[in-house]
């Protein structure tokens, strides 16, 4: 019995010194010997749901430190939401858009440089300067309207990266045209999921799956060593799926017109705008899913490849097949996957066309 008491006290002591912040709390009230840190069963999932970045997020982690790791992940999401939001008046991006110039923080500079990279890779199909167009269509406020052609023509002038001067030395950025506005929304969630995964990793988590409003990223494998199964939404039937892709350490990010759209005079207008025309991209694709280790890239590419259409997307993949894999659904109901997913993509729905 004595030994049992001793063992119990030792466990309590170990638990209470495990984490700096928590042990401070213990010290304030030495009478309470209850462990302050909740250790979670590493074989059971620990989940966290939250609303942020105008979407619903679910984070699931496995490991003894899962609770603290999810706390840290949630803090990071809320921090990035504040930093990157175009709508919040205190955000860096909001101020930059108001002033037309400014000095980017290290993190915003990274996002700007990644945006440029995806812009160049996709020949302008991804454009961080598209924000004035998104506003005109009401996709930022949910107050939808089809803009007049003259209005769009005027706004297209503002979607112009060549009129942005940026120094990668001091991170100073300025817009040469009045009313130009930047938005990292096209890669912000992918960047956030990448950050969340690296924070979970730092906290000692080896197995996790996160979904930031349908932008999925997984850390490691499932706890039993098998691959994570990520279902891909069927763009034609939003309660169904086109198949399941099995992955470890990957982001799986899908863009489709079905995600956000409105109807006016019997015509459906979706939220994926072509930066070259100002109108919703109509290229015969209903959805594009990108599978990549790089969440930021996957987010940008899913939008860009949707805008480019299947043929250009295929070419882009052939030239960059080490960077990503993709799944495409066309408006004629056809399903295409890139070669690297041949073994990992499971479906019973369509004949599967493999892009090689």
């Amino acid at each position: 019995m004595k030994k049992a008491v001793l063992a119990f006290l030792i466990i309590c002591a170990c638990l209470s010194v495990g984490c700096g912040k928590q042990s401070d709390m213990v010290r304030k009230d030495p009478e309470i010997s209850q462990p302050q840190i909740e250790e979670t069963d590493p074989s059971e999932p620990t989940s966290r749901d939250l609303f942020a970045m105008d979407t619903f997020m679910t984070l699931t982690a496995y490991g003894e430190n899962a609770l603290q790791a999810l706390d840290a992940a949630e803090d990071e999401i809320l921090r990035l939401d504040e930093l990157l939001s175009t709508g919040k008046e205190e955000s860096e991006i909001f101020r930059l858009n108001q002033d037309g110039e400014g000095t980017l923080s290290e993190e915003s500079a990274y996002l700007y440089e990644r945006s440029l990279e995806v812009n160049e890779l996709t020949d302008g199909a991804f454009d961080p300067m598209i924000y004035p167009l998104m506003q005109a269509w009401g996709f930022t406020t949910h107050e939808y309207a089809v803009p007049a052609p003259e209005e769009l023509a005027g706004l297209l002038e503002l979607v112009d990266l060549s009129a942005v001067s940026y120094s990668d030395k001091d991170h100073h950025i300025s817009f040469e045209k009045n009313k130009m506005e930047i938005d990292f929304g096209g890669i912000a969630k992918g960047y956030t999921s990448a950050r969340v995964v690296s924070i979970l990793k730092e906290q000692g988590i080896n197995h996790a799956v996160i979904s930031l409003g349908g932008n999925v990223q997984v850390l490691g494998t499932k706890p039993d060593g098998s691959l994570w199964k990520v279902a891909i939404r069927d763009p034609e039937n939003v309660s169904g799926f086109i198949g399941v892709v099995q992955v470890s350490d990957k982001a799986v990010i899908t863009s489709g017109g079905y995600e956000r759209y409105f109807e006016e005079n019997g015509k459906v207008y979706h939220h994926i705008l072509d930066p070259k025309t100002g109108y919703p991209a109509e290229t015969g694709l209903l959805s594009v899913t990108i599978v990549s280790e790089d969440g930021t890239l996957a987010d940008g590419l899913s939008t860009a490849l949707y805008v480019m259409g299947l043929e250009l997307a295929e070419t882009l993949w052939r030239e960059n097949r080490d960077l990503f894999e993709a799944v495409f659904v066309t408006d004629s109901g056809k399903l295409y996957i890139t070669e690297g997913l041949e073994k990992e993509f499971l479906t019973d729905r369509y004949p599967v066309n493999v892009i090689r």
């Binding site: 119990f8 999925v216 199964k229 309660s239 489709g256 956000r260």
Partner: protein
């Protein structure tokens, strides 16, 4: 007179305050586990949906019992329908109607979300069934 050794022996059999505390803690833990086990077991036997409103659990509903659940908050109203073992958002006065157009769901990895009303309908995982997927990319 008892020797030092005998004294220690006697001490061992005398219940101490710390022993009683340990027994109390163990008993409490056992009771808690029993409750958790019974609760968890009940959920494994069927499928249940949890309605979560602004991060707080609003209620857990048995999918075997056909019913409608009407929820009104400052943000608006939602009408949830449970029918033939599945759950769907039958009506909502949110502008986008995505929650309604989603139809019925049956996987714990695929919640129905009414974002403007901060309302989530989540199927509780059935541990007796293998999962067909862990997340949905959309």
């Amino acid at each position: 007179m008892l020797s030092d050794d005998q004294m220690k022996k006697n001490d061992l059999f005398k219940p101490r305050r710390s022993d009683l505390i340990l027994i109390a803690i163990l008993a409490a833990a056992a009771a808690l586990l029993a409750v958790l086990f019974a609760f968890g077991k009940g959920h494994e036997q069927g499928t249940y949906a949890e309605v979560v409103l602004n991060g707080q659990s609003y209620g857990i509903y048995d999918l075997k019992e056909d019913q409608t659940i009407r929820i009104e908050t400052d943000l608006g109203y939602n009408l949830i329908e449970i029918q033939n073992g599945s759950v769907s958002m039958k009506e909502a006065d949110c502008p986008d109607q995505y929650c309604v157009s989603k139809g019925a769901v049956s996987s714990s990895a695929d919640p129905i979300v009414c974002l403007p009303h901060r309302l989530v309908i989540q199927i509780l995982p059935d541990k007796t069934e293998p999962v067909s997927f862990d997340a949905v990319s959309e």
